[in-house]
């Protein structure tokens, strides 16, 4: 063995997976593993039977190199797993592993014994980086983002029961879902582990196999949902909402007007009109926290629109967004609070169902929406926190653009979501003390998200809840030095590195 340290080699077994690869690509993947310095006796190729995939070339290459060929049946894989003397199993699924990739993957698991399964970044052959997100169980249901190289502890795989026959052609995704399900830990190794191309071919029905293991994972944890294929390897999970809870939409307003698409409109009235007329979710309460100066005509229009579902709450103090939201939350009767700005307009009719279904998932704290500027460019697709500062992912991108791992077509974990449109359970809102009064105008939502995350829950962005947010692109948020100080005194060290939206900054 030339490149790999013998001591390391004895602790590592490499499996080259043929699932989803063309015969030629599989051979290239295998050759790269051997060229990285792994001795053939530490490498195995896993292939399905010839009726399912064309693996003849890979088998021939393996035989020629003295590499063991294992059937990709669960029984054969489990037999090999049980007899393995290795600490770690490195699963190479496609692309070309970098010689240092294996070392870095193993070093990461050595350093962090609490991690059960790791995955890393890759790059295309022309040098474009494919930066993967931090562990994201919700995203995993929509997209197997784990990349070409996945490393797992052999003991962890044995503990979760090894490979399942039902997960044929999607074993790695299935393992990751089950590690998370059983309380194990997935982790991003933020280092380049391999090169790969971005071909989206679906050899041997791998995409359908992934969908099946996701459906099975949802069934195992008792989540009722349907899984639709948006495109090969990208799925939309439609969660059934449980018990149709009352959702209180809290909107602070002064009853102001603005010119949108060339005509003047009262923002709060049109925002609520859109919800009343177009939203399919019906069990709603509108809690409008209105300044005393709000025109009477606006109040009358709100009463006409909402009827019995309206709760008007007076705000008669100097502007404080946080305090207005907290007052609305105190008056709200719903099990869930939908925090909403008054300068929005609903686009997708099932936006509340999309957000609520996610909010009811285990471990989810806040859920945010896709917000567009008036010109249909992106205003919000999750927040990014880096260097102690906060911004928006994909800010100003043209609608329809996406990153290489299709983040804008998948529900996914984010550092935070804007309070311009965010859903949170009332219980959680009270558990964390709502919005902080120390941040009356800016960053209050960042603080809210950090408090949510501190409880162990996650912030989720969904691209399936779409609204316009008529905030000016050139809006000057008038951030005071004290805003940043008050935010950073609580969270600065935990806002240094953005790991969820790395391709959208």
């Amino acid at each position: 063995m030339s490149g790999i340290d013998p001591e390391l080699a004895s602790r590592l077994e490499v499996w080259v997976d043929s699932a989803g690869q063309s015969g030629d690509d599989g051979v290239r993947t295998l050759r790269a593993v051997l060229e990285a310095g792994f001795a053939p006796d530490r490498v195995a190729v896993t292939v399905d039977d010839s009726a399912v995939e064309d693996s003849a070339g890979m088998v021939a290459a393996a035989n020629a190199a003295g590499v063991t060929v294992i059937s990709a049946s669960a029984a054969a894989l489990n037999e090999r797993l049980e007899s393995s003397g290795a600490d770690y199993l490195l699963m190479v699924r496609r692309g070309l592993i970098l010689p240092e990739g294996a070392l870095e993957a193993v070093a990461f698991l050595d350093r962090y014994p609490e991690v059960d399964l790791g995955y890393g970044d890759s790059m295309t052959e022309d040098g474009t980086s494919l930066l993967r997100p931090a562990a994201s169980p919700i995203r995993l249901r929509s997209s197997d983002y784990l990349g070409p190289v996945v490393v797992a502890r052999v003991s962890s795989l044995r503990q979760i029961g090894g490979f399942r026959p039902e997960a044929r052609l999607a074993h790695v995704l299935d393992l990751a879902l089950r590690v998370d399900e059983q309380g194990g830990r997935l982790a991003l190794i933020p280092l380049m582990l391999a090169t790969e191309d971005l071909a989206k071919d679906d050899f041997a029905g791998t995409s359908a196999a992934q969908r099946l293991v996701v459906e099975q994972a949802l069934a195992r944890v008792g989540v009722r949902a349907t899984v639709d294929e948006v495109e090969p390897f990208i799925r939309r999970v439609r969660y059934e909402t449980l018990d149709e809870p009352l959702v209180s939409i809290i909107i602070p307003t002064r009853g102001t007007s603005a010119t949108i698409a060339g005509s003047s409109r009262v923002l709060v009235v049109e925002a609520i009109r859109g919800i009343v007329e177009r939203s399919t979710y019906r069990n709603l309460e509108f809690v409008v926290v209105a300044d005393a100066e709000t025109p009477g005509e606006v109040i009358d229009a709100l009463k006409d629109l909402c009827g019995e579902r309206l709760r008007l709450v007076l705000w008669d103090a100097p502007f404080n967004f946080s305090a207005k939201m907290n007052r609305g939350a105190a008056a709200a009767k719903g099990d869930y609070l939908l925090l909403l700005n008054d300068d929005v307009e609903v686009v997708s009719e099932d936006w509340i169902e999309s957000m609520l279904g996610l909010a009811q998932q285990r471990g989810v704290g806040t859920v945010g929406a896709m917000l567009y500027f008036e010109d249909s460019s992106i205003q919000h697709a999750g927040q990014v926190y880096t260097g102690g500062m906060a911004g928006h992912a994909a800010f100003g991108w043209n609608g329809g653009l996406d990153d290489a791992i299709r983040s804008l077509a998948t529900d996914h974990e984010v550092s935070g979501v804007t309070a311009a449109c965010a859903l949170i359970s009332r219980d959680l809102y009270f558990e964390i003390g709502g919005f902080t009064l120390t941040l009356p105008g800016n960053y209050n939502d960042v603080d809210l998200n950090m408090k949510v995350r501190e409880t162990g829950r996650r912030a989720i962005f969904t691209p399936w809840a779409r609204l316009y947010h008529f905030e000016s692109k050139s809006r000057d948020p008038k951030i005071l030095p004290s805003d940043l100080e008050n935010l950073q005194v609580r969270w600065k060290r935990r806002m240094q590195v953005e790991l969820y939206s790395r391709m959208m900054m």
Partner: protein, 96 residues
């Protein structure tokens, strides 16, 4: 709908329930109190010595710092500051 620029209405007078009830007022105060407690806890956490970063964050930060450290700009800066560092060392040795 057109809204007059300078409305004369005082709508809350006609809607007494627009003011919070006693229970609601208490809930509002509870929110502020809970936030103050959490805020102090987090400030203390920020001051602790131990790392607050996850394994992935730690490796990402190390990689970033290593890249900065080996960057051309950093190397030029080190060369530029060399005389100053030498003088400081000499001064320490001479003056104790």
């Amino acid at each position: 709908m057109h809204v007059p620029a300078d409305p004369k209405h005082t709508w809350p007078d006609a809607i007494p329930e627009s003011r919070l009830s006693r229970e609601e007022r208490l809930a509002e105060e509870r929110l502020a109190f809970t936030d103050r407690i959490i805020g102090l806890e987090q400030q203390l956490k920020e001051l602790r010595k131990e790392s607050l970063a996850s394994p992935s964050e730690t490796v990402a930060m190390e990689t970033k710092y290593a890249a900065i450290d080996s960057s051309l700009g950093q190397r030029i800066a080190r060369v530029g500051l060399l005389p100053k560092r030498v003088l400081r060392r000499v001064k320490r040795r001479v003056l104790g």
